[in-house]
Symmetry: C2
Subunit: 101 residues, 2 copies
Amino acid sequence: MIDVVKISKALSDPIRYKILLMLVDHQSNELLCCSPALEGACNCEIMAEFGMIQSRVSYHMKELTGAGLVTEEPRGKWKFYSLNMDTLKEYTRQIGADFKF
Amino acid sequence: MIDVVKISKALSDPIRYKILLMLVDHQSNELLCCSPALEGACNCEIMAEFGMIQSRVSYHMKELTGAGLVTEEPRGKWKFYSLNMDTLKEYTRQIGADFKF
DNA sequence: TTGACTTATCAACATTTCTTGATATAATAG
DNA sequence: CTATTATATCAAGAAATGTTGATAAGTCAA
C-alpha cells in the first residue's frame, strides 16, 4: 500500500521534481555520460545536469527512492536511477479514489 | 496553470491530508455544527474533529487554499471550506502528462 | 597492491515549516 | 452600543528539511 503523504512530500521539492522529469527522458535510452544505451541516470549525470554537488544529489535520490518513486540499480561503480512508473500511477489512482473522482 | 510542486507540498502534511479527506464527506451535506444543510466545513468543525487549536487550523487552511485545493466562502461569522475538485483532478492529470502515462 | 573515480554518510549549519499563545479583525445577537 | 463568537495574523520557539564539506566505503583499472 502506497503512502500518499510520503510521496507528496517527495514530490514537493522543486529540485526533486526536476530530477524526476529528467528521468522521464532516460526511460529507454539515448546516450549517457556514464554508460551509453542503458536505462536510467547516474548520480554524476544529475550533478552535471543541475550543477549540484554530489552529497546533495545523494540526499535527494534517497528521498525519491524512499518514497518508491525511483528504483536504483548498481552497475559497476555507478548507481543508475530509474522512474518507478507504478508508484506514480498508483499515487494518482489513490488520490482519485480518496477524493472520489 | 497549476503548480504541481506547490500542490504536492500542500498534500504532504498528514493533518492537511486528513482535513481534505474530511471535506470529501462534506461535499453536499449532512448536519454541521455551525450551519446544517450547507456544503463545506467551517474552521470550528475542523478544530473539533481533530482537536486542534484555532490558529493551527487557520494556518493549514491557508496552505490548502493557497494551493487551490480548497475554496472558502464566508457565511456570516463563519468561513466555509470546500474541496476544489478541479484542482485535484488537474493535479493528477498534470502528473500523468509530465510522466507520460 | 595503488590510485582514480563514484556514491553514501556524517556533523554542522541554514532554511523552511509547524505550533502555540496573544492579539486583532470582523460579524452577530441582544 | 456591548458582549460574544469566529477567524486571521503575528512573534517566538520548536521541529523538520535541505545544504555543505569532509570522510568513508566501494568499484575498477593498471
